[in-house]
Symmetry: C2
Subunit: 255 residues, 2 copies
């Protein structure tokens, strides 16, 4: 499981950054762990070569081998119903862990693909579990991360069930803005790596509705839309539209 040699090789290629030096350290698994413990974690993690747009991280039905932490880029999780209809479950940005929902029965119930060029850290689950057994801080952080996912889901369930289309989309945008900010990117200018279709699917709306909302938001001076590039002109206004408790970090589910 541990591959120090391999890691060094990848390091030379510029793909590898140890957890210790990773800018996502404070958002990811290592939170609350000692330097020594992070080093142990580091040794089970495999840095993979970057994925291209459309590459699968894993597919629905696959056995669970590893969890994945997004390092750069973004991924989308979705499942496909028997009739072939896709359901988008979430979008994941750097520092977010995907695959947690597969632990239950060691099987992935959704697929995850890269939305753009994306690099991830692969974390073999068996090794992670063993390590968590030895490192209390790691066990705790795993519990915390899973619990946070549950909280996110709660918030999202409320958005899906109780909000109008306007509120849904503004919630989505505010959430993206916040997540970009906390990762050191601009919270007011960013690129949507997903299609309108994906957004619509995710929010339980029709593509046409999303399109109309984008134009409406733009006309109201809330945002500026240029294809996939979004500029937020009035974050406070968006927040107001999103309704109260819109703090909930939405858009990240499952993987």
């Amino acid at each position: 499981m541990t591959e120090p040699t391999d890691r060094k090789v990848i390091d030379l290629k510029g793909l590898k950054v140890a957890c210790q030096e990773c800018s996502l350290r404070d958002l990811c698994l290592p939170v609350g762990m000692s330097v020594q413990d992070i080093d142990r974690l580091d040794h089970i993690i495999r840095r993979k070569r970057p994925l291209h747009r459309g590459d699968y991280l894993y597919r629905e039905g696959d056995e669970l081998h590893s969890l994945y932490a997004v390092r750069s880029g973004s991924v989308k999780s979705f499942s496909v119903s028997e009739e072939g209809e896709e359901q988008v479950l979430g979008f994941h940005l750097p520092g977010e862990l995907v695959g947690l929902d597969a632990i239950h029965d060691s099987t992935h119930h959704c697929s995850t693909i890269a939305l753009e060029t994306t690099s991830v850290c692969e974390i073999p689950f068996d090794a992670l579990e063993e390590l968590a057994q030895e490192i209390p801080g790691l066990q705790h952080q795993l519990f915390r991360l899973m619990s946070r996912e549950l909280q996110n889901d709660e918030h999202f369930m409320m958005v899906l069930g109780k909000k109008s289309s306007e509120e849904k989309l503004s919630n989505f945008l505010v959430s993206l803005s916040q997540r970009f900010s906390s990762r050191g990117f601009s919270g007011t200018e960013f690129m949507l790596s997903m299609s309108r279709n994906d957004i619509a699917n995710y929010l339980g709306l029709a593509v046409e509705t999303i399109s109309r909302l984008f134009t409406r938001f733009q006309n109201n001076g809330l945002i500026e839309v240029d294809r996939k590039f979004i500029t937020i002109r009035d974050l406070e206004g968006l927040r107001r539209l999103a309704g109260p408790q819109c703090g909930g970090h939405m858009g990240a589910h499952r993987g």
Copy 2:
């Protein structure tokens, strides 16, 4: 934390059953643990006196002290928005664990109340975490339970986002039926412990819609409704209405 004396006293009152003898053993925390380990778990669990309808297990904003396993009866989790609007997050039957979403920041973000006379096992989280550090099987089962919640949420998100009102309600009923069955109760005749309002709120619909659907389902010979008592007359028909992959055990979220 461990209160053997107290436990014996409660035992005499007929409230206490050790995990070992509990009929919910195979649905709850002890899954996959050895007899000895279950005994250790048993020692940190506090059996509380029964709650009455409307009693709070914990409130939104409370600090996390314990997780709770429903032993009998049922509870409802919900949060209240700033405008005072309630959002029902889930209903929990015996054998289900509530409070997991509070681990993230040691704070409950929803309230949980008893829908009827209900007894629960209180599991102090600190002690549980310590024990999980020593008992690999317990750590694993905790990961599994949290992961299952994530999977449930996924399924529910799909129901909320993509399904019609008919599909939502039939999904709900099928899920209840399954959960009652696997707990040894009748899967075709049961009492709804929650109000129409709660169901509507949970499914993101209006009360009136739920009411109309109940009458429609009854007219179509799918179910028989007598106040809170439901008799399922055509489970297969309901399943068909619920759409594919309706297996997902729905209705249990958050707590």
